[in-house]
Each structure stands twice: as C-alpha cells, then as structure tokens.
Symmetry: C2
Subunit: 183 residues, 2 copies
C-alpha cells in the first residue's frame, strides 16, 4: 500500500472509531466526512460497513493487548494489574457500542478481532499472575472468575451508564475483594 | 376474565418464559405448543409477540421484587442481601435473553415492566440498607455502585457463559469486597 493510501486508511479508522463509539448506527458517509475523504476512499479500504466495524474493533483490542503487554514489564505488578483493569472498564462503553454495531450488522467478530481478543486475554492473564506473585491480588482468584469480573464491571458500568465517580466506587469495592485478606 | 381464560393466560406465560429464556428467537407457535393451547388462544391474550415478551419480563421482575420484599423481613439481613444478589445473578441469563428478545422485537420495556423493575430496585435498596445496619455490608457502599455491581455480575456471568462453580467464585470475590473491612 502506498504511503498516502496507508495514511487515508488510518484516518478512516480513527474517524470510524470516534463515530461508531458514540453512535453505533452512524453511516459510512458520516465516517468519510469526519475523516475528510471521499466516500469512494472509505469503500476502497473497507468494501462494507461490517469490514470497517471489524477493523475498528480489532484496532481497539490490539491497543489494549499492547498496553497490557507493556504494563507487564512494570515494577509495581499490583498497580499494573489494577490500572489495566480500570482502563478497560473506562473504555468499555465505546468498545461495546462498536461490538454491538458489528453484531447488529449481522456479523460476529471475525478472525482478526478474535485473535486480538485472545492476545488481550493472554496479556491480562500475565498481569494477574504477576500481581498474585507480588501479593497484590489474592492467590485463590483464578483467571476465569477474574476475567468474568472484568467483563461484568465493563458491562455493568456501561448498562448503568455510570458517572466516573460511581464507576470508581464500584471498582474500589471490586478491588477490595480481589486483594488478599486484609486481616 | 373467566377462570379458564385466566388459567390459559398463566399457562401461556409460563410456557413463554421457559421458551424465550432458552431460545429468544422462538416463535409464538412454539409457545402455544408447549402451553398446550391453540395459537388463537395465545393471540387472544397477547396480540403481538412484543406484548407476550413484555408480559413475561414483567412477571419475572415482579417475582424478584416479591422475593426481595419477603427477604427484607428475615432476621439475618446479611444472608438476605447476599442470597438475593446470588439469586438475581443465577437467573440472569434467561432474564437477559428475554429482555434482548424484547429489544430485538423493536420495543423497549413498557410501563408495566418498568414499574416492576423500579419496585425490584427499591426492595433491593431496602435489603442493602438492612445489611449495612447489621454490619454485613460496608457502610461506604452506596446504592448506585452496588446496583451496578449486581447488573455487572449478572451480565458478566451471562456473557462469559460461566459454569456455576466459576460464577460462585466470582461472587465470593465480589462479596468479600462488599463486606466491611476485615482487619
């Protein structure tokens, strides 16, 4: 792909992420407008809205995976784990809106989004193990229930349309449950 | 309504709850078959599938509200609060399936389901206050974040399709966070 074509692709993706995160039912025309490109350019890179949504979701999951991988190298394993958890929950509403728009378009997430999701879960598992080794998270919490709490907190915050303050109080309760016994 | 008509209505509702909880896309014919009534009987009571779904959702919410109200009279306020929380999460997958089928039918929950939902939330708030007064739940947890945790645990358990054992471990972590500081 030529450099200007790559540049256009990135602009379309960034515009799509912004628009679909707010308004899942937005049109491809809206995306082209915000990206400052013609509708033909959008369709050249993403022949269908489904392909565009899929690409946006993949980018978001890859970004989270890269963030988790980066945090796994930090010295404070507890701060890395809880920081990543909070970031996922804070960004959940736009990610869920995109995933739901994809579903509404009649398509489940394809291979690229699924791969990125698997990479994200694996990196989150590493963050959990490290936090447990450094006594920041209780030992008896296994990955499936901790991951279910991550999904649950994300969906709970989105469904209840929580203000940031309430969301933080919700997470504080959850994190107290995840910490080793304080007694 | 005559006694046999009331009886038929109840049978249709029970059949609809069972079928839509498993298979949100099921047809009104499937409901009639399981209820052992003719399709005309279903349509006489519920002219559209949307009305049937709405009635099923209302029945479920009213049942939860009644259960919470009943539990608010029990001596062990902590057991009442956590028991109700666990029941809501355990039953969430079928309730969410019904709510999503209603949404997919192009309708949001109407007044009767909304009223039943408000009654359920109010009764849950009473359970929370009583549990806090008896030191079973931390004082600094306000209703909005505790309710968000209830919704989140329900959606997390459903989305991750959790086995009962993992679901219980998830709730154990959550409940430890909700209890007063153990130190």
């Amino acid at each position: 792909m030529r450099a200007d074509a790559q540049d256009n692709r990135k602009r379309v993706l960034a515009a799509a992420e912004e628009i679909f995160g707010r308004t899942p039912g937005a049109s491809t025309e809206d995306v082209a407008k915000l990206a400052g490109v013609g509708i033909g350019t959008v369709f050249r890179h993403f022949p269908t809205k489904t392909e565009l949504l899929e690409a946006v979701l993949t980018v978001r999951l890859e970004r989270l995976r890269d963030r988790a991988t980066e945090l796994a190298g930090e010295a404070d394993a507890g701060a890395a784990f809880f920081g990543f958890f909070s970031q996922v929950v804070a960004e959940a509403s736009t990610k869920l809106a995109i995933a739901e728009a994809l579903l509404a378009s009649g398509s489940a997430a394809g291979a690229s989004a699924r791969n990125a999701g698997a990479g994200m879960r694996e990196a989150f598992g590493t963050l959990l193990s490290r936090a447990q080794q450094s006594d920041a998270v209780r030992d008896d919490a296994d990955f499936p229930e901790v991951y279910a709490l991550l999904i649950g907190a994300s969906r709970g915050a989105t469904a209840a349309n929580l203000e940031p303050l309430v969301r933080d109080k919700m997470l504080e309760i959850l994190y107290d449950g995840l910490r080793p016994d304080r007694s």
